[in-house]
């Protein structure tokens, strides 16, 4: 059977947006963003090993508006993927799988992501200013 002949499941647009599916998609998206962040980490290390000129290039980029925006996005993605990853690990043990826990856990993850991102940037900026 060619793949085109297979019966299709309903397309994504059919479904109403809900917290569970949105968070699930975001977990994946955050993972992809973090992949780019991991490459950034390697670039930073290689530059630090290569000497002043290369390191200045990284510093200039990360200090620019685009660099700061990427760093901010990376922080949000990191904290979200971290918190939601812990939620997944809890599920793997067979706990918190009922509908109410799934929603409560979802909102806790959203809240924790916001708080952690805020705390990290306040700490970083106050460090920068001092």
């Amino acid at each position: 059977m060619r793949s085109a002949d297979r019966p299709l499941s309903p397309h994504l647009q059919i479904y109403r947006w809900q917290l569970t599916s949105v968070l699930s998609i975001l977990h994946r998206a955050a993972g992809v963003v973090l992949s780019a962040g991991a490459i950034l980490l390697v670039w930073w290390l290689v530059a630090a090993a290569s000497g002043a000129e290369a390191y200045e290039g990284v510093e200039d980029f990360l200090g620019s508006w685009l660099g700061l925006l990427l760093l901010f996005g990376w922080t949000v993605a990191l904290f979200y993927h971290l918190c939601n990853g812990i939620r997944h690990l809890v599920w793997d043990t067979g706990h918190a799988l009922d509908l109410r826990s799934v929603y409560v856990g979802g909102w806790v993850v959203v809240g924790a992501t916001g708080v952690l991102t805020f705390v990290a940037w306040v700490a970083g900026i106050s460090r920068w200013v001092s």
Binding site: S3, G31, L34, A38, V42, L45, A49, G124, R127, W128
Partner: protein, 104 residues
């Protein structure tokens, strides 16, 4: 291994974020001294290994879900595996260069 690396990455990433905040505004020499110290060096190596392992497994799932041509799927999965390995090696090598004081 997706889950084992996930467990490892919880403390490692939290440590990394706190450490990087401590390095905000630091010059190259400070960064090199920090990276060269045993504890940060070891934790960074572990972070690189766990991250790129976790990343290759995660991206493989994404590709398997969205790429439907067998050949393209196979090619992309192999490419991602190799790239993740290469990036991890590059990061660890750079780190060792700094830690062993052989920076050019």
């Amino acid at each position: 291994m997706q889950r084992i690396t996930a467990v490892a990455l919880v403390p490692l990433t939290l440590w990394f974020v706190i450490a990087v905040i401590g390095l905000v505004g630091a010059d190259l020499e400070t960064v090199q001294n920090w990276v060269g110290r045993p504890l940060p060096a070891i934790l960074l190596v572990l972070l690189l290994i766990a991250s790129f392992y976790h990343m290759s497994l995660g991206l493989q799932v994404v590709i398997e879900d969205y790429v439907h041509t067998e050949l393209a799927k196979l090619g992309l999965v192999i490419a991602i595996r190799l790239l993740c390995f290469a990036f991890a090696v590059a990061g660890i090598f750079a780190l060792l260069t700094i830690a062993l004081g052989t920076t050019s």
